[in-house]
Amino acid sequence: MEILDIIKLIIAGIICWINFVLIDTYFGLPEKPGVLGAKTIGEKIKEIGGNLNGGYFMGNIVCSPDASAGTLLASIMNYLMGVKGGLIAALLVWIGNRLCADPGYAGTIGALTITLIIYLLHPIIGAKYFVGGMILAIFSIQGFEHKYASILLGKIAKKMNRGE
């Protein structure tokens, strides 16, 4: 039983990683720093040998709730309340985005997308595994090793035609 749990956790983590990186890159997070605080984090990442566009991506996640926050909060509310929790989470994430001076396209669309994915997959993988999977996904970007993570994000941004 323990082995099955770990396999479900890793699969949920991969789904969450693909979801929030693709949505954030499509809505132009690596392209320019949205707020002034993201600029200094991007330049600091470049000083230690990383990529500048990946640095802007990581700075924008810190300074305003984007698709990563939308994914985590929508999966929490799906675990507690069902499908209508995902809609409430989308509304509250939009208000939080406007408080941080951000247009708010990425957060709400990320929340709605993960709600749809959980509703389609809930006989196989429960909503509880997506909460743990999102923590694994954010740990691989923000917490593990900043230099190589920013180089990987820069390559993805270049392939999707956002950034240089």
């Binding site: 323990e2 749990d5 770990i6 956790l9 707020v35 002034l36 605080g37 993201a38 600029k39 200094t40 984090i41 600091k44 990581m58 700075g59 996640i61 810190v62 300074c63 305003s64 709730p65 990563s68 926050a69 985590l72 909060l73 929490i76 509310m77 675990y79 507690l80 309340m81 929790g85 989470a89 509250l92 994430v93 939080g96 408080l99 941080c100 509880k128 595994y129 909460v131 743990g132 999102m134 923590i135 694994l136 954010i138 740990f139 923000q142 917490g143 900043h146």
Partner: protein
């Protein structure tokens, strides 16, 4: 003991020690962001009712406001010096 709470708790403890030991100011904010993700998930898994979800959302958004203000001040202090 549940395995999901164990994994999240291990990551949170690792993040706390890395915040305490890193010397750069900008990289501490990145680790603090990851820690607030972990605490928000732990609150929702500990309190199993819709009120716990509301607490998790409000805590996460106000934690983001704090990080935004600190990062803005670091940029302005760099201009003054």
């Amino acid at each position: 003991m549940d395995i999901i709470e164990g994994v999240i708790g291990f990551i949170a403890l690792l993040m706390v020690f890395r915040i305490f030991l890193t010397r750069s100011r900008a990289r501490k904010l990145l680790y603090l962001c990851c820690l607030s993700f972990c605490i928000s998930a732990l609150i929702a898994l500990y309190v199993k009712s819709p009120m716990g979800g509301i607490v998790a959302i409000i805590y996460f958004i106000s934690s983001t406001l704090t990080s935004n203000a600190i990062a803005y001040t670091i940029e302005q202090v760099k201009d003054i010096e």
